[in-house]
Symmetry: C2
Subunit: 313 residues, 2 copies
């Protein structure tokens, strides 16, 4: 069984695990789960499993599925809070089923994580810690957007908690199922953490430069809601300057604030700066892998770190 076959098993399991005698929960869950996510996180779990010497990918499939469920539950709740209408190329759960059922569907997916993970006793603390961080990251982001306090430091805290910790955990638990030594599990965690930071920075850049069709979700949401990389790079408080040295005015509402934002970011070189940071983080992730003996799986993890940066959707 190769990684792509294992990912098909992940998808099969995801579809199975959300069965319920309450039809609408099953339907709404399958609506989001079959919407063609890119499955970065479960792929990471499977690759880390192989890298740490695992030989039966089916062992890692339920855990990889649980990792994807954590992510998906968060997406469903995010789309409520952001009033997103497009996700994974489809209408969001809240757009189709309304906010109340979307809230319950997100809760349902969270409880199914718990169900899937119940047999994997030693992994539960890892899942708990990552899920707590994720909710904290989303909260920091919501609070910063609401209070217009998104600066570079806060942006770093947010993407660490809301994205990097889940990538890190996804890799670490893959290693743990394969029986990795603690030092190796920690190395996989650090690898995933840096790859996750790179992934999120690129995600925020794509939110600026891509259009909704290519992205499969409502593009520009982050900008219009005062969140994300752009705001963080552009935001100055008390005369602080950005890395480029030039003070940047606090963004004010304009006729078409999104276009103005994009123009400013593109012309100010901030996109390039973000891409360079992401590239550096991916390289750091790859360096972490040097403590492992060379193997096809390690090579794939290395390529995975590159793919977090070199993507256009």
């Amino acid at each position: 069984m190769n990684i792509d076959q294992a990912l098909q098993e992940v998808d099969k399991l995801l579809k199975q695990v959300v069965t319920s005698d309450v039809d609408v929960l099953r339907e709404a869950s399958q609506h989001i789960l079959t919407g063609g996510g890119k499955r970065y996180r479960p792929r990471l779990t499977l690759l880390a499993y192989l890298a740490a010497g695992g030989t039966d990918l089916m062992q890692a499939v339920p855990v990889a599925a649980a990792v994807e469920l954590v992510h998906t539950a968060t997406l469903v709740h995010d789309d409520i809070n952001d009033h997103g209408s497009l996700r994974r190329g489809r209408p969001t759960v809240n757009a189709v089923y309304g906010r109340t059922l979307a809230l319950l569907t997100g809760d349902f997916l969270f409880t199914k994580v718990y169900e899937l993970m119940a047999p994997f006793k030693e992994l539960n603390p890892e899942f708990a810690a990552a899920t707590v961080a994720l909710v904290e990251g989303e909260t920091l982001q919501a609070a910063a957007a609401k209070n217009n306090t998104l600066d570079r430091e806060t942006y770093g805290r947010i993407i660490a908690k809301k994205t990097a910790v889940l990538f890190a955990m996804a890799a670490k638990v893959g290693g743990m199922i394969a029986g990795a030594r603690e030092a190796d599990a920690d190395a996989l965690y650090n690898y995933g953490f840096n790859a996750g930071l790179a992934f999120q920075i690129v995600d925020d850049i794509l939110d600026i430069i891509a259009d909704s069709e290519k992205l499969g979700k409502t593009a520009g949401l982050d900008i219009s809601q005062g969140r994300g990389l752009v705001t963080a790079l552009a935001h100055t408080t008390n005369g602080h300057t950005t890395a480029g040295g030039a003070p940047v005015a606090v963004i004010e509402a304009e006729a078409d604030p999104m276009d103005a934002f994009k123009q400013r970011m593109l012309s100010g070189g901030y996109i390039e700066e973000g891409r360079k940071q992401a590239r550096d983080l991916a390289d750091m992730a790859k360096q972490t892998l040097e403590s492992f003996p060379a193997s096809p799986a390690i090579a794939e993890l290395s390529a995975f770190a590159d793919s977090c940066v070199e993507r256009d959707h």
Copy 2:
């Protein structure tokens, strides 16, 4: 240590476990957790622990706290969906912090359940199953209210899933920590299930007859939203009649629909019918306890079943 002292430890732990470097999550969590809930569910866990022969209540405290957290997380999300403004005698989390942060606070509390329970490996499947049922029950309720399809059968399904299963689990896990035999753990489950049904029926009755001040939450919400016992008792489809034999008209919007509802329920004897059902269920719960040798804890569980029925708030 007696039960009330153990419940104080539960409260202390609840306050500790929701610490976070994200201030607003901690504040919102403590806002709802210190709002003076009646702690029925953790009390049940502690009593069941003693009834099954447990001797060190501190063993059961983290599990009792996790049970209360599951319940509290659901309350926070319920209040978003119901637009409730009063809970446990205080403004709801959504009223104070807004819907977005209330949603994230509920998620945070759910993840803290996971964190608290990580060391209790064999209990995780019980928690997962109960939490899934809870979300299913809430979803059935939301769907029935939306589609105006609340009849007696659906009402029974809803209160089983959204309330009785959590009471049942609370009692069962209390027994399990004390090392109860499987038959005893199952008996505690059945006890909790029937006590939980009784509790919810009385809760729905109180929603009709009590006022907000006494109840500490927005009274009449269930009625105005087409949910709960009243609607179930009053709802007829295709000429079905209620237990009393007289056909009851489908409720229509009136000048003050709540007053009209109350009047109809009070005069139709439905309140008395509900109270009788609750009494029968509490008696069934007490009968389940007869398989245990007499003890002070069993006597307290028996009194607990009565208290689910004989309460005015």
